[in-house]
């Protein structure tokens, strides 16, 4: 993540691990969101925000064992050795297959990784004023529904495609979901 001031960009942190598992199961949790606190950023009036989804290629050459255990990139759960890559995003969940409200029978698992799936979102024309000795809150919204959108505007049918495999169909869906991040994120 970074803050932009014209052409100049201030990095907020090299890498963060954001886990929505425990909050994104109901509307209240989703509204509460996930808070990342950054301290000691230079005071200024910023006009843009950048966010990347994934691990930059230079860092993606590493293995979890290259980092001490508390580092975000030490998580072996987020590295897939067969790709030689970190997993940039995981979308996992359940869906109702039979329209019976008692159970959610269907599972979906979309893991996205590898350098070609790295995406950077640039949000411009913002007014983010950081003042001395006071906090500034920036609320970033993720419309998860957009992540399931297909190029023709329709939405993914989870009953027919609920997992990304290592074949060409998996590649196409990985690219689609990676691109979907660009439109799923906005500033509230």
């Amino acid at each position: 993540m970074g803050l932009k001031e014209g052409e100049h960009e201030v990095s907020m942190n090299e890498i963060d691990f954001i886990d929505f598992t425990d909050i994104n199961v109901d509307m209240a949790g989703a509204s509460e969101g996930y808070t990342i606190s950054k301290l000691s950023l230079p005071v200024s009036n910023y006009d843009g925000l950048t966010m990347s989804i994934g691990v930059p290629s230079d860092l993606n050459e590493n293995l979890p064992s290259d980092f001490s255990s508390s580092h975000p990139l030490a998580r072996s759960s987020e590295h897939w050795s067969q790709w030689n890559s970190y997993i940039f995003s995981k979308l996992e969940g359940k869906y109702d297959e039979d329209n019976e409200p008692t159970q959610l029978e269907g599972n979906y698992v979309f893991h996205i990784g590898r350098d070609e799936m790295f995406r950077t979102i640039e949000l411009d024309d913002l007014d983010i004023a950081l003042k001395p000795d006071s906090g500034t809150r920036i609320t970033v919204e993720i419309d998860v529904k957009n992540l399931f959108r297909l190029s023709n505007g329709s939405y993914l049918d989870l009953e027919t495609q609920n997992e990304i495999h290592g074949d060409e169909s998996g590649e196409a869906l990985s690219l689609q979901i990676s691109n979907n991040w660009l439109t799923a994120i906005s500033i509230q």
Binding site: T21, D22, S65, S69, S76, S77, Q82, K94, N107
Partner: protein
């Protein structure tokens, strides 16, 4: 004359104390509360970590020292920690069983079974994201405090333990050497836990199993082992994906996550017989989740799961192949795998390649009382 005599006596006394504190401690000397005459010169303990493993993180307030590790080693194997001097940490964490005990659920000093299976301590210093099956301790120092007072474990009080350690002929000088205390009254449960944590941080395996050897290109796996490896890590589309590596990936064969792996049907998330992680976080969707254990040396740590319900690895594979039981929070990767008998055998063959007990030959891991 009187003054001279006194100084001679005093000098004589100092010599005796000094020579005794050198290595041999008599009852008379150890009865002295003041330990400040014992040298406090801790030497760093270098832990050998295989290159493929993550770095060992050591708390700044508990650096690894030879003296600390040796003190922790003695405490780990010493039944002095239990209320009736009958059990030690090692009773439930036997090196020969890869630091487990072979029971479905562990028994305490009163013969009462607990509700959880003893977890292996192999590589425990390299784990993160909480310890115990439910992650209730964040650090080894915190973890080490609990079994002493657990009624279904050592069932003691720390006050009692500390009294016994203070009165012991040997421990006070060891605490002095490890932590620089100046009197036996400074022995605390926190220092004892620090020492045990230091010992636990040296329980590091060698990454020299058959899997490690063929992963380094030193040997060839059998066809069966390779097929199991393929399914474990989902390498080729020609074989089924056994979905194992999602929770047991990485060099430690655990992702340190808490998972509901479908052991119990729970139409309602409050229905689990053991709430596991949820009892700690008090978060409904964590109910029924347990830590994904490391699979290194998994062949030595039967029975399996948090409650030891599966006697064999074959039963474990059958469970995962079935897709488990329904609950809303069962991990979406727990599905019917559709493995046939040959494929299940291949997966087992691969799991057996994770056995490597060479690290147990480290003399610092052995029982100092044997």
């Amino acid at each position: 004359m009187t003054i001279k005599k006194s100084s001679h006596i005093l000098l004589f006394g100092i010599i005796i104390i000094s020579s005794c504190y050198n290595e041999i401690y008599t009852d008379n000397v150890i009865a002295i509360n003041d330990l400040s005459g014992i040298p406090y010169e801790p030497e760093p303990y270098i832990v050998n970590i295989p290159a493929i493993f993550p770095e060992l993180e050591v708390p700044a307030d508990n650096p690894m020292t030879k003296e600390g590790v040796q003190l922790g080693r003695r405490l780990f194997y010493d039944p002095i920690l239990s209320a009736d001097n009958s059990m030690s940490c090692s009773t439930c964490h036997e090196p020969d069983k890869n630091f487990t005990d072979g029971f479905s659920t562990s028994f305490g000093i009163d013969g009462i079974a607990g509700t959880r299976s003893s977890m292996s301590l192999e590589n425990i210093g390299l784990f993160y994201n909480g310890l115990f099956w439910d992650g209730r301790a964040q650090t080894l120092e915190e973890q080490a405090l609990e079994p002493i007072t657990n009624p279904v474990e050592l069932n003691n009080t720390w006050e009692n333990v500390i009294e016994k350690l203070k009165e012991d002929d040997d421990y006070p000088q060891r605490f002095r050497k490890a932590f620089g205390i100046e009197s036996r009254n400074e022995i605390t449960k926190e220092l004892a836990a620090k020492a045990i944590a230091q010992f636990e941080r040296i329980i590091i395996s060698n990454a020299n199993s058959r899997y490690d050897q063929f992963n380094r290109g030193e040997i060839f796996p059998t066809d069966s082992e390779y097929n199991g490896f393929d399914m474990f890590f989902d390498i080729s589309p020609d074989l089924p994906d056994a979905e194992c590596a999602h929770c047991h990936g990485g060099p430690l064969f655990t992702t340190n996550e808490y998972i509901n792996n479908g052991l119990d049907e729970a139409p309602d998330l409050n229905d689990f017989p053991d709430l596991g992680r949820g009892a700690i976080t008090e978060y409904l969707y964590d109910n029924g989740k347990f830590r994904a254990p490391s699979l290194r040396n998994i062949a030595l740590t039967a029975p399996y799961m948090h409650d030891g319900r599966f006697e064999t690895l074959e039963e474990v594979i059958d469970h995962y192949n079935s897709g488990g039981h329904y609950a809303e929070n069962v991990d979406p990767l727990i599905n019917n795998l559709g493995l046939n008998e040959e494929e299940k055998g291949d997966l087992l063959a691969f799991l057996l390649t994770l056995t490597d007990t060479t690290y147990l030959s480290n003399p610092d891991l052995s029982n100092p009382f044997e």
